[in-house]
Symmetry: C2
Subunit: 194 residues, 2 copies
């Protein structure tokens, strides 16, 4: 009946969802407790405080999910095509509600980077890891790309644009503007090829 590991996972899962939707500060513990149907004591048995809970959500939920999301398209034979399909499928398959929540990494970056050092270093590490992932896979197929390109620069550019486009859909509440940016992003990426 009692299953501490399951309790912990439930807390992480619910917290991840709440933080994704509302942001870290706007997420209240009482709301998490209600959804998990546990007491405050249970939560504080598993996590020292709200910050540590936030770090755990980042490391055990967001980070793995983030890599699992980006790795397949980037490691495709043709990463340019992989990323184009990846972005395009988002506007098609994601519901408006999901889209409006944005990327958890970018959300936390905006909200927490300037406020908490623990979040900042974790977010930065994740961004650098993603950048390396994209840049190395672009250089892998560099023979098919235009000469003289800075792959790290391009990787940061692509991710920045993607995050910026997520921001747009938050205010427009629909996919239209998001689609526009993604279209142009795909056009840009296509131009990287010879």
């Amino acid at each position: 009946m009692r299953d501490p590991e399951q309790t912990r996972q439930k807390i992480l899962e619910v917290s991840a969802d709440e933080i994704h939707r509302k942001g870290f500060n706007a997420t209240s513990l009482s709301c998490i407790l209600a959804r998990c149907e546990i007491s405050k004591g249970a939560l504080y048995h598993h996590f020292a405080n709200k910050m540590e809970l936030g770090y755990a959500v980042f490391e055990e939920v967001y980070a793995p999910a983030f890599i699992a999301l980006w790795q397949p398209p980037v490691e495709a034979e043709d990463p340019i095509q992989g990323l184009s399909d990846f972005f395009s499928s988002m506007s098609k398959e994601m519901s408006c509600d999901e889209l409006v929540c944005g990327c958890p990494l970018n959300n936390l970056c905006q909200e927490m980077s300037g406020v908490d050092e623990g979040f900042r270093i974790r977010i930065l590490a994740m961004q650098q890891q993603l950048n390396l992932l994209i840049a190395t896979n672009l250089s892998r197929v560099s023979s098919q790309l235009q000469p003289g390109l800075d792959f790290s620069q391009i990787a940061y550019f692509i991710v920045s644009t993607f995050h910026g486009s997520s921001s747009l859909s938050k205010s427009s509440l629909n996919k239209e503007l998001f689609d526009k940016v993604i279209k142009e992003l795909c056009r840009y990426m296509g131009q990287l090829k010879r």
Copy 2:
């Protein structure tokens, strides 16, 4: 001695700075009162509540400043060159502290769009106004650009990338990554020309 209009302006100015640095929710009225050296009664004499203060800051401080910032580069003879210089000068002339605060419009978009309808519609209107500004000025020089371009799409793309790059500097605490993205953005914009 008493100058209600000056008091009001002071409140708006200080609030704009606080909201820019900390975000809307994290900005406390008591902090604004302390910096303005006024009482809570004075603030609530001029503004109905915190939300209305936020709206006033947006409309009377952010929006005019935003237009004043973007209009000159976009309305230059060569808007592509104007925007390139505009972005490049940011990384050179802005201090790290300023850069890390990000664009007030984008910050509020991320924080408030999903939470408050009043903010959302104001932010969206501003984004559309900026988009129109850029798109019309690109079409103005369309004879110098490649054929078949969607100017609105390009305008949203440019702004999205810029906002995304601001996000990057928040976690890295330096200009390096911001510079990288801006460099690539300028390279992209250069390719729009014939």
